[in-house]
C-alpha cells in the first residue's frame, strides 16, 4: 500500500504520454492529469513523506503541512484551469511544458530541503521558457533567451547560497533562515529574483507578454507565487522585505500606468500584487502570514482570469495594445463580464476575493502601527483599480470602436474563465472556505460596515477621478524603459565604449611604448637572446614533459563514455570523502 503519492508524478511523468494520444482521448487525458493532482492534494494528510538518502544528503520530497497544502491546492487548481483554457491548442510541446512547469512548482512546494527545492526551481525555469518560445516569433525567441539567462543567474546565486549554508552549518534544511551571513543573503536574492522584486523583476514584464496566449496563463500563476511560498518558509519577519514589498507594489502600479500592451500591464500588476505579499512576509505576524497566503491563493485565480481575458482578446482580434483596441464589449460580452469579475476581485471590491485576502495584509500593517506602509499599500490598491478595473475595460472593451469584429473565444476558454470567475466570487462571498486553509488560526472579519464603506469610498472616488480624465489616460504607442535596458541596450553601449574609448587609449599606450623603447635597441637584442635561450628553453622543456605525460595518459583513455563517467563519480566520491576528514 502506497501511503503517499507526489502529485507532480501525474503532471511531470503523465505529461510525457500526451504525444501518444490523439483527439478526444488526448483532451480528456489533458484535463485528467491536473484533476488527479488536485485530488491527490485534497486527500493528502500532513506529515513528512518521501524521504530519500542520496550521496549523504537527506532529500525530502513531501513536507506536507497547512502552508504547503494551501499553495499546492491553488497550484493544482491553476493547472486544471490553465489546461482547460489550453485544450484547443494543437501543440503537444506546449502541453508538456505547461504540465512539467506546474508539476515542478508543486515539487518545490512540497520540498523539505533546499537541494530538492533547487532541482524543482531550475526545472520550472527550463520548462516555462518553452511557453514563451512556443509562440515562434522573433520577439518571443529573444525574450525567452533573456528570461532563461536571468533565471540561470538567479539559480547560480541560489545554489551558491545553498552550498555556503551547507558548508557552514552542515544542513540543507528548508526552514526559517538563521543568522545573517552570505548564505542568508544569497538565498534571499535567489528567492527575490523569482518573486520579481525590483531591481530583479524585468524578466517578468519582458517575457510574459511575448508568451503564447495559453502559456501566459500558466506563467502568471507559478513562478512568482512559488517564490512567495519560499519567502514565507524561510524569511518571515525579515524587516527589509516590508519596504521592498511596499516599493514593489507602487513600482508595478506606476509602470502599469505607462504600459500599452495589455499583458505587459497585467505583468506589472503581478509585480504590484506580489509586493503586497512580500511586505506581509516581512511583517511576519500570524495575521500578515495568513494575509500573504490568502492573497497568493486569491491572486493566482483572479490573475489567471485576467490573463485569460487578455489572451481571449489577443487570440480573437490579433491585437495586444490598448491603443489599437476599443468597443469590444458588443462582440465579446461574455469575455467582458468574466474579465470584469477578475478586475473587481484584484481591485478588492466587497463580495470579490481580493476584498477578503488583500485587506488582511493591510490590516496587519495597521496592527503593527506602520502608518507609512499602510498608506502606501492603500495608494497602490488605488492604482490596481485604476489600471485593471478602469483603464483596460474602458479602452479595450468600451471606449471608441476600433473596427474589430471578433467572435467570442472557443468554448473551452470561456469554461476555464468561468471556473476561475466562480472561485473569485465564491471566495469573496464565503471567505471561511479560504480562511480554513490558512496556516495560522484566523480571527479576521472582513465584512464590517466600516470596512465595506471604507473600501467602496476609495474605489468609487478613484472611479470618479478616472471618468473626469478618461480622455487623457489611454494607451500611447510607446514603450517604457525598465531595468531590462541594462542587458538589452546597456551591453551594446558598453561594447561601443570599449571600441571608442578603451581601444584608442590602448593604441596610444602602444605608440608610447614603441617610442620609448626604440632607442634601446641594444637592450632589445640582449632581451631577445634571453628570450630565445632561457624562456623558450623552459617552455619547450615543459611542453616535452606534457607530451610525454599525455602519451602515458593515452594508454588509460578508452573513449568509453561510461568509464569516463565512472572515473568522474569516483573522483567526486574520493573528494567528498577527503572533505569529511
Amino acid at each position: 500500500m502506497i501511503d503517499w503519492i507526489h502529485p507532480s508524478v501525474f503532471l511531470i511523468f503523465g505529461a510525457l504520454l500526451i504525444p501518444f494520444l490523439r483527439g478526444r482521448v488526448q483532451r480528456i487525458y489533458i484535463v485528467l492529469l491536473p484533476a488527479l493532482a488536485l485530488l491527490t492534494v485534497m486527500l493528502m494528510s500532513p506529515g513528512v513523506h518521501g524521504v530519500v538518502h542520496f550521496l549523504g544528503f537527506e532529500l525530502i520530497f513531501g513536507r506536507v503541512d497547512k502552508l504547503s497544502l494551501a499553495f499546492a491546492y491553488v497550484f493544482s487548481c491553476a493547472a486544471l484551469i490553465g489546461a482547460t483554457y489550453a485544450l484547443h491548442v494543437k501543440d503537444n510541446g506546449q502541453h508538456i511544458a505547461a504540465f512539467v512547469y506546474a508539476g515542478s512548482s508543486l515539487g518545490a512546494t512540497f520540498a523539505g530541503d533546499l537541494l530538492t527545492l533547487f532541482v524543482f526551481w531550475e526545472l520550472m525555469a527550463f520548462a516555462s521558457v518553452w511557453l514563451i518560445w512556443s509562440r515562434r516569433v522573433q520577439a518571443s525567441i529573444e525574450a525567452g533567451y533573456r528570461y532563461l539567462l536571468v533565471h540561470a543567474v538567479g539559480g547560480v546565486v541560489l545554489l551558491a547560497g545553498i552550498v555556503i549554508l551547507y558548508v557552514t552549518t552542515k544542513s540543507t534544511r528548508f526552514d526559517v533562515m538563521q543568522g545573517q551571513g552570505p548564505a542568508f543573503y544569497l538565498i534571499l536574492i535567489g528567492f527575490m529574483l523569482n518573486a520579481a522584486v525590483p531591481p530583479l523583476h524585468a524578466w517578468l514584464t519582458d517575457a510574459y507578454p511575448e508568451a503564447t496566449v495559453t502559456g501566459a496563463v500558466f506563467l502568471s500563476a507559478f513562478t512568482t507565487k512559488t517564490a512567495v511560498y519560499a519567502l514565507i518558509r524561510a524569511y518571515p519577519g525579515t524587516e527589509l522585505l516590508i519596504w521592498m514589498g511596499t516599493f514593489m507594489a507602487l513600482y508595478g502600479v506606476v509602470f502599469a500606468m505607462l504600459s500599452n500592451d495589455i499583458r505587459r500591464l497585467l505583468g506589472y500588476h503581478i509585480i504590484s500584487q506580489v509586493g503586497f505579499m512580500v511586505a506581509a512576509v516581512g511583517m511576519g505576524t500570524a495575521l500578515a502570514i495568513n494575509g500573504a497566503v490568502a492573497h497568493a491563493f486569491a491572486h493566482i485565480l483572479y490573475k489567471g482570469l485576467l490573463f485569460m481575458g487578455a489572451g481571449a482578446i489577443i487570440q480573437m482580434t490579433g491585437q495586444s495594445k490598448l491603443s489599437e483596441l476599443g468597443g469590444l464589449y458588443r462582440w465579446m460580452p461574455v469575455t467582458f463580464v468574466l474579465y470584469m469579475i477578475g478586475a473587481f476581485s484584484i481591485s478588492a471590491f466587497p463580495l470579490f476575493s481580493g476584498f477578503v485576502s488583500k485587506s488582511m495584509e493591510i490590516s496587519a500593517a495597521g496592527e503593527m502601527h506602520l502608518p507609512w506602509i499602510w498608506l502606501l499599500l492603500t495608494l497602490a490598491s488605488v492604482g490596481t483599480f485604476l489600471c485593471l478595473g478602469l483603464k483596460i475595460p474602458y479602452y479595450a472593451f468600451i471606449g471608441k470602436d476600433c473596427g474589430a469584429r471578433p467572435a467570442e473565444p472557443p468554448r473551452n476558454m470561456l469554461v476555464a474563465m468561468g471556473i476561475a470567475a466562480f472561485l473569485c466570487i465564491f471566495i469573496g462571498v464565503y471567505p471561511a472556505w479560504l480562511y480554513d486553509k490558512l496556516p495560522n488560526p484566523v480571527d479576521y472579519h472582513p465584512y464590517t460596515p466600516t470596512h465595506v464603506i471604507w473600501a467602496l469610498q476609495i474605489l468609487l472616488f478613484t472611479g470618479m477621478g478616472f471618468f473626469m480624465l478618461r480622455k487623457k489616460l489611454g494607451g500611447a504607442r510607446k514603450i517604457t524603459l525598465d531595468i531590462d535596458w541594462f542587458y538589452r541596450k546597456g551591453a551594446g553601449l558598453f561594447m561601443q565604449f570599449v571600441y571608442r574609448v578603451v581601444v584608442p587609449i590602448e593604441n596610444w599606450f602602444i605608440q608610447v611604448y614603441r617610442y620609448v623603447f626604440r632607442g634601446n635597441l641594444a637592450l632589445g637584442i640582449k632581451g631577445l637572446w634571453l628570450d630565445k635561450n632561457v624562456i623558450d628553453g623552459a617552455v619547450n622543456a615543459i611542453a616535452a614533459v606534457v607530451v610525454r605525460g599525455a602519451g602515458a595518459l593515452r594508454q588509460v583513455q578508452t573513449g568509453q563514455l561510461q568509464q569516463y563517467a565512472l572515473v568522474m563519480v569516483g573522483s567526486l566520491l574520493i573528494l567528498s570523502l577527503y572533505s569529511l576528514f
Partner: protein
Amino acid sequence: MDIGKILENLVNNAKTLKRIGFAVLALLVVIDFFLPRHHSHFFWDDIPGFSAVFGLVSFVLIVVVSKTLGHYWLGRSEDYYND
C-alpha cells in the same frame, strides 16, 4: 436576457448612470458619518470621508507621477529595441 443587450442598454443610458454614480458617492460619504468606529489604528480612521479624499488624492498622485516619468524619462518609440 442577452448579456450583450444589457451592456448595450447600460452604455446608451450613460447619463442616468452618471447621476446614479454621483448619488452613490454622496451617499457613501454621508453613511460614513454615522458608522461606529471600534478598531482605530491611526488617527485618520476616525475622520469620516477620509478614504474618499484619500482615493481621489491617490488617483491624482499616481497619474501625475507616472505620466511625468513616462514623458520626461522612460518613454521611447516602439521600435527602440529593434534598431
